[in-house]
Symmetry: C2
């Protein structure tokens, strides 16, 4: 995801001067339309569904009732004419072959009920997708219809109690028996029980089970098997299958997560999902992919869609929280201000600081997800399915999912606290949404593990680059000199000193510098490049070291790896936001959105100011202007924030928070009228304080 921004767009960033206040405004309808992205009609339809009360989370249900209702809602989705649930499935089976649009719509479902989103994701995005992506056409024809129309609710049995992130080490085995042409599925010990599986506790009658495929005494690694687990009539476990309910969870209580285990469960040879590996009747294994490692990662590749959609729905959830907190904050008054009325809490500097940068980040996250959807659609529609693009897709999805899910949780918490005690009431939505979103940080790839995956890719890319550049002795010499010069320039602070000299006596020049989009880009990109380079150089000796020493070197750099990945995600989001500015036609809207992009870029820089100082990228003087300039931008954005959250297109049917309904303003109006009438009546008591003052 590299980018080139049109010049006029960079220009806009620099002209935030005198008469801008007059120009600045937000065309809410147009911006809202723009945000619908590449599949506006489908997304609109999905958002309408999310606003339909039939699909809303009902907070009054018991967990058991909530589970049943969620399944019922999925059945209604299947029954609906639009068949949005089938967007990703093949046309020949009644689907639409629209993988990107499918995820865009799926991300909207979170506004109805995250349990509905995730249980749908289990059925169609994991169980169904495993058949679609890992099965042969014959297997698709045979097994997909039941998954699509919900006649076969299914579990995706990959994770085990003992192994989550490290799927390669799962313990479940599928041993081929040539005598009967069957695989025998076994759970050899408690740690190999399948765990945390949606649909497994109650509803699933089948599962796509990942197991070590063993035939002729050879373990060919993890493969996926289609395994019926319950009698569809009695809903009793089939022979050899057992399991238990995972019980209550911190959220997503509309999903029946459970555990499964297998003892000598036999499935026909033809129910190994055989696209990437199959076993002949005599037990001979074959695969179109030679390398067991590459085969494994190819099979797991389809999981990327979960990360892409969680990224989108995490951003959407943050938007919902922010819209609620901003609407309430714009009405809620507390403590006297300079005027007659008490002050609206959104006018407090602390409130601006708590909420506005998060509005900017939500926009950055939105645009980054749009581009991720593009990339996903390219790869999965087959339009641009190259190994490089697949790798890009996986890295980008991992970088964005880990960032946006963490962002959503922090944002929802900030919003809940910004609404005070009212934010804690379930009727105001935020705590409920946050509880459901909590697990997004660790499922479909633990965020810390994902960031290491991203960083390893960045380091590997850097390694390839260096290898290319240093193939000749001259190239190597140049590389060494450049690195040494760069380090000297930064470590000794020479670059910083030159900035300080350029800015002497002119703080405006320092601030103007930061407003420039190219400066922001350079600061963000340089940080990623430098962090990756530093950690790559630090890791080099590990390649030739003894295991213990290699482990020590990795240990010393692991935190830096994770930080480099986070910095990479920040850059991706900034680039996406900047690119998106070019598509905004209305000048006033583009101006406000450019301020917002600046807030995003500069708050990222502000968070990492220590790094910029210690690496000599910013002079003290320039660094000192960052916070003040961000504060000025936040004040400038104040008149537009309600428009900015409205443009996300969430109405009361999506927000569903009493405090965001105008009730607070009504109550204040009533109180104001009461006091006015009291004063007019001449019966208003005089305050003791006033009395003492007048006496004195």
């Amino acid at each position: 995801m590299t980018t080139t921004s049109p010049a006029e767009n960079l220009g806009a960033a620099q002209t935030t001067t005198a008469d801008d206040a007059a120009t600045a405004h937000v065309d809410v309808a147009a911006l809202s339309e723009y945000l619908l992205g590449r599949w506006p009609e489908l997304r609109r339809k999905a958002r309408e569904r999310a606003g339909d009360p039939r699909f809303h989370k009902d907070e009054s249900l018991t967990p058991a009732e909530h589970r049943e209702r969620t399944l019922e809602q999925m059945r209604e989705m299947v029954a609906a004419d639009d068949k949005i649930a089938w967007l990703a499935f093949p046309e020949r089976m009644g689907g639409f072959d629209e993988p990107g649009a499918n995820l865009a719509c799926f991300s909207e479902l979170v506004a109805a009920d995250p349990s509905l989103q995730i249980k749908s994701g289990v059925q169609w995005g994991l169980f169904g997708a495993a058949i679609l992506h890992l099965g042969t056409p014959e297997q698709q024809d045979r097994l997909l219809p039941g998954a699509m129309d919900l006649s076969v609710p299914g579990a995706f049995a990959m994770t085990e109690t003992g192994h989550g992130s490290d799927v390669q080490s799962i313990g479940t085995t599928a041993t081929y028996d040539p005598a009967t042409e069957e695989f025998v599925i076994d759970t050899p010990f408690r740690g190999a029980w399948k765990d945390y599986l949606g649909n497994a506790a109650v509803h699933a009658t089948a599962a796509t089970v990942f197991a070590q495929l063993i035939t002729n005494g050879v373990n060919h690694g993890v493969h996926c098997f289609y395994v019926p687990i319950r009698d569809a009539e009695t809903m009793e476990f089939l022979p050899g299958v057992g399991g238990e309910d995972d019980g209550l969870k911190g959220g997503l209580r509309g999903i029946d997560n459970g555990r499964l285990h297998f003892s000598g469960v036999r499935v026909p040879r033809t129910d190994l999902l055989a696209r990437y590996g199959s076993v002949a009747a005599d037990g001979t294994y074959s695969s179109p992919i030679e390398s067991p490692g590459r085969r494994f990662f190819t099979m797991l590749g389809s999981l990327v869609q979960g990360r892409v959609s969680l990224d989108g729905s995490a951003v959407n959830s943050a938007k919902i929280g922010l819209a609620i907190a901003v609407k309430y904050g714009a009405e809620r008054r507390q403590f006297a201000g300079a005027g007659v009325d008490e002050m609206v809490v959104l006018d407090y500097a602390t409130h601006r600081r708590r909420l506005f940068p998060r509005i900017a980040e939500a926009y950055a996250g939105h645009f980054a997800n749009e581009r991720l959807l593009d990339l996903f659609d390219d790869v999965f529609s087959g339009a641009g399915d190259t190994p490089e693009r697949r790798e890009d897709l996986e890295t980008t999805a991992a970088a964005l999912k880990s960032t946006s899910t963490a962002f959503a949780l922090e944002t929802l918490q900030e919003c809940r606290e910004a609404c005070g005690g009212a934010g804690f009431l379930t009727e105001n939505r935020i705590t409920s949404l946050r509880a459901d979103l909590d697990v997004y940080a660790t499922f479909e790839g633990d965020n810390t593990v994902l960031r290491q995956l991203v960083a390893k890719r960045l380091v590997a890319d850097y390694g390839r680059e260096v290898k290319g550049a240093t193939k000749t002795p001259a190239g190597m010499a140049r590389f060494v000199v450049e690195r040494a010069t760069d380090a000297a320039l930064h470590r000794t602070g020479l670059r910083r000193v030159s900035q300080a000299i350029a800015d002497v006596g002119d703080p405006r020049r320092a601030a103007g510098h930061l407003r420039d989009a190219e400066t922001q880009r350079e600061l963000l990109a340089d940080r990623v490049a430098t962090m990756v380079e530093d950690v790559a150089m630090a890791l080099r000796p590990a390649q030739k070291a003894a295991p213990d020493e290699a482990a020590r070197i990795l240990d010393e750099n692991q935190v830096a790896l994770v930080e480099a990945a986070a910095a990479h995600a920040d850059l991706l989001r900034w680039e996406a936001f900047t690119d998106a500015l070019a598509g905004i036609e209305d000048t006033g809207t583009r101006l406000v959105m450019t301020w917002l992009r600046d807030v995003y870029g500069l708050t990222v820089i502000e968070r990492n100011l220590t790094w910029y100082l210690l690496h000599g990228r910013l002079s003290d003087q320039r660094a000192r202007t960052v916070t003040g300039y961000v504060d000025r931008l936040l004040r400038r954005l104040r008149p537009h924030v309600l428009d900015l959250v409205d443009a996300w297109g969430y109405g009361p049917e999506h927000l569903r928070a009493k405090i965001a309904s105008g009730a607070e303003a009504e109550r204040q109006e009533e109180a104001r009228a009461y006091y006015a009438a009291l004063r007019a009546s001449g019966k208003a008591p005089i305050s003791e304080k006033a009395l003492r003052t007048s006496r004195a």
Copy 2:
């Protein structure tokens, strides 16, 4: 809370060298005993109660059942011989006059069920305490027994829908009627409904109601009235009283929060809680406190105990989360390491970084709460009840409560994520605890409001100091010169340059410098002093400015005010931790605890490194050593972290998390045994990968 630390204690901080590894250990039993603090027997008893299953949160209950059970648990507490619930009440009424011990014990109750803690707090710490602290001895004798023995469950009706933090602006009125010698309580508009009141939805038969006291046409400000609200037999609202249930909340579902409103409800003149203000039969108002402002703040002063106890229980909750995550992390293995086995996740650098600094901060918070309890006990026992100490108490409680509640929420979230998907299951406790703790951030004083209160006090103190120092022209001149010199020294980086010169070529000296307790103290204290001074100087023009201009100046400095308060709390906690080291007799334990204190101090400095750089307090070279030195300390602490969390004294009956029970290690043992037996049998499949390698 200033402090002087014994020299030997500072010495310990500096000797973390070669043979320390041999000395370093934790005497868990002795440290645990030490942490019991000033009232060890009572605290032990309270912790035993928190471990008793009868008082545990039952996750399977419906909210309605949970509410009933919580009340039932409170009745059991009253029935118990120890009468811990009555510690704060007067001896003459069966209590113990032990205000400090009472809060220490109350903070332990969070380990049983936060709903039980907070509902108890409503009954005895708010409703009962209002009678105790705002009532006359006659009123105490008459009204306290019912509050104490739960024959009168009560609500504390202060907050209104329209006014939370700004209590002075509440709308409920109590108008004196001399004809009947009664007060007439009225809720004039919807915003004046009492809201978020524990006990109000179902159980309360009476309430202590805060209202504007109006007599003879004068409003004497907010006073508290004892108002029966429900018929104790039928539990119907009494005439003129109405209300509704607040419904579901994000947590604390064992508490029946509700709303109340009053229409012409009459209470006898003698039921105005009259310690700080009374009305004679003819309607004449009198008060021992002349100033209405000071009277108001005196009446609200007793609320400080809520903040003191929330501080303690927030720290305790963080400890529970950390103990669970550390115990699981020490057993859970994922991905191959350098050895034969997979790596224990606690050995990952990222995991150390996520959890260990929080262990240090929990200790800092613990010791700070101990000192806060001392201060509270001094004031409320009467042993040291001066206006200055009351003010100190309020400032310290506000600083610590706002810091520890935020810390607890972030820590519980980090712990939940560190446990992966297992952390999301209710059976592993953390999500449930976090949901309950959520509201601690905004009730009993919104954290952002509390921090402003702290900062205003710090700024006022600074003003008094300056005023004193600059009374003479010579003093004024000295002040001006000192400030100018200091600013020049820091702004121009001269001090930093001198550090750089001192450290040249010797990174060890730079790190050694940070290890020194006096350096840490100076860095932390200097930051608070400078921030307060800067903001005080910036606010000065506001005193003489027009309202709009004054508001603008305040707005520009509000974020800095909040940050100064947070820095103050960090310093208080560091001081408390450092003081506590002196009381640890065992050398090995003191050494480990000193490392831990260093981790706390240095991570605070690390978080604020930008400030130290931009204010010229640390040279680049010294700043660059901070992170590396913290990382070294974390590695050094690794062998001791299980001991450090065990010393908190929470057994399985307090943690109640399946993943912290040893089950994970058992499962791994079983898996290991399975694979060993398989290898021994000669029937183990060979991996395709190994086969390919051997063939090649």
